[in-house]
Symmetry: C2
């Protein structure tokens, strides 16, 4: 039933705990093909799932042509672009909204570089919630247009992504909204860990040797660490795969920290990379990422813009997968890891393609967008009488 027994702090990240045992994991060949398959390891009470859109259960592709081209016969691609809004952010969105639906909360908020915002906007729309998104003024117009198409309110913050997160969290506290911000809401890690479970099942209940994971704020990697740990706690496995985190050479705070070297300004320049999804200066779960990588014998690698472009092309032309730059980082990171001796091309490696390039057919809807600095401005934009959680279904 997914009853949480407590929580522990793991390098600054809150890890929910369960009464671990093999009975918590679904038997083979049963149940749904969505992340709700693992509900006994999710903090979801009994009763039918209310979230109306199927999420997770994404393909693990054997990528024959890519394996051939790279002489990597045991390379796999976990294709998260097959989620509802074509990114892995749909998972956390589903679990947070499911919780909100159970508790009767009518508004969800998050700050985001883009994919989480799009996922939140569309997920909220499907579930009948209001979405209030905070972005930096640098957010890609295509992603902003998608948010407004889905009916979300979009508040742009000049001071950047970190300030957007602060404002979103403050609004959640002040107005009683669902807080979907990663690093803040442990439900997001719970949702993301299901990728580990799926990979294990899709490999025939076998572990890969390593996973290569794009790292922005870091919760995806942290959640994979938790997922593989839980398989062990449940008595189902006896080791854990290595985790290799990937950042852009232009925004690589965690790579530098792992290497024990100070970062230069050009290595802390989010605007310098096309991989906007992982261009985060102060990763929310940074310490937990480094702890997971170090403990498990993994590593952190940085990739160039050229590397990202080549990887995106290779994924398209050899695997039939359309990845945005942050998503293609997984393949570029694998190449870097092999070059640096952090991985061998003969190993069983899973590349996590986290998202696809997005477009909105419609332009940004200006009636849903405002530049803000304070909660007062947010409140005024939304209309004073509308702040309290409206009834679900509004």
């Amino acid at each position: 039933m997914g009853t949480v027994t407590g929580s522990v702090d793991r390098a600054g990240a809150e890890w929910l705990q369960y009464a671990y045992g093999p009975a918590l994991f679904p038997p083979e060949a049963t149940g749904s093909a969505t992340l709700w398959r693992y509900r006994d390891l999710l903090p979801v009470p009994d009763g039918p799932v209310r979230y109306p859109v199927p999420v997770g259960g994404t393909p693990l592709l054997a990528v024959p042509a890519l394996r051939s081209a790279l002489a990597a016969p045991r390379l796999w691609v976990k294709d998260e672009t097959r989620n509802p809004t074509a990114s892995n952010k749909d998972r956390a969105t589903a679990v947070v909204i499911e919780d909100g639906l159970r508790r009767g909360i009518g508004t969800i908020t998050t700050a985001s570089t883009g994919n989480a915002a799009v996922a939140t906007a569309f997920g909220a729309a499907a579930a009948g919630l209001r979405a209030v998104i905070f972005v930096s003024t640098g957010c890609r117009p295509g992603k902003t247009a998608l948010m407004t198409q889905a009916g979300a309110w979009v508040f742009q913050v000049h001071a950047g992504y970190a300030a957007a997160v602060e404002l979103s969290r403050a609004a959640a506290r002040e107005f009683g909204w669902l807080d979907r911000n990663t690093g803040a809401n442990p439900l997001t890690v719970e949702a993301k860990k299901t990728v580990a479970f799926e990979v294990w099942e899709q490999l025939g209940r076998r572990l890969p040797d390593l996973l290569v994971v794009p790292v922005g704020d870091g919760p995806t990697l942290v959640a994979l660490d938790k997922g593989f740990a839980e398989l062990e706690h449940c008595g189902l496995t006896e080791r854990r795969p290595r985790l290799i985190g990937v950042q852009s050479a232009h925004c690589q705070p965690l790579v530098r920290e792992w290497a024990g070297q100070p970062a230069t300004p050009d290595q802390l320049d989010p605007s310098g990379t096309a991989a906007d999804g992982i261009a985060v200066l102060r990763p929310a779960t940074g310490p937990a990422v480094l702890e997971a990588v170090r403990r498990g014998g993994g590593g952190m690698v940085a990739v160039s813009e050229d590397g990202l472009r080549h990887a995106a092309l290779a994924l398209a032309r050899r695997a039939g997968v359309s990845a945005e730059p942050a998503g293609a980082a997984t393949l570029a990171g694998w190449q870097a890891a092999v070059d640096q001796g952090l991985a061998d091309r003969s190993e069983c490696a899973v590349l996590l393609v986290t998202g696809r390039e997005k477009a909105a057919g419609t332009p940004v809807d200006p009636s849903r967008v405002a530049v803000v600095e304070t909660l007062d401005q947010v409140a005024r934009a939304l209309g004073a009488g509308e702040l309290a959680a409206p009834a679900v279904g509004r």
Copy 2:
């Protein structure tokens, strides 16, 4: 085993036939969640499926907020944007390529308004085939860029879509390539009919009252007709849902024909609608569409650009589904059908959202694009020695 027993001509469309009976349909709660679930009703020989990307098994959404907004308590959305390249065209691509892989053919060709080309480019890339696509010079740059990103050759034809189809078919005949053109290859109808099977199973092995289907060339609607006919032939059902086909008011050859009225020039203007996916002047399976609609008591409706925009917004804001204009046509068409008395809002209706807006992060790759008129130009662009089907895996 999916053994085809023969074929019949149905109003110009070739319908493959099987030894129909209940045993051809998979038992409940077994098998894969892809279209291969129905392989006993697909022309696929025994042996493991070789196509390396899962296709089909897309969600049938209960859309609670949209039902509420439309006072349509039994409205469903079949979300084909959840396929690999976010459109229903992935189905036909999979079945045609599976056939090609079995027969050792190394190149696939098609002409397309966009989605089929993108599906073909990415599907071929995944399967290790070469893709040679013919488009009109009016094809949207975003879709062309996706094709080249996936490594396809793109030949642009000034004389328009019909000429592109002719050239593609001629090339297939001349060079021994897989011909994926709808209306030409009966395998495409076989693939598309699986939507009918899925809808029936997803409704708990119950039939809807009607389906609303965007109509360009028409094979999607024709295939649904075949699928529901086959459920009857297998002894599993005793009636068939009504089929309502939707076209743009700016390009509505079949709506006019169904209404028995001549079309005016502004009603035959493909460039006049944002719904490029259904902007086809001379639908390849037109007679079969009209025959299916008439026989079943359905109808054809035309929708305005405003109607498309409102429908796309409603799908985004009330269902969390991001549909391109041609895909949103299904909801606009349902509205029109209700307004015209062709449907009642209390009926169990399935809206087929055929595709999502697409973007390529990369610009068009000019080395893969050429304007052509003749096969000679095609051959020269590809290089004379490369025309014969290269070995699979190239």
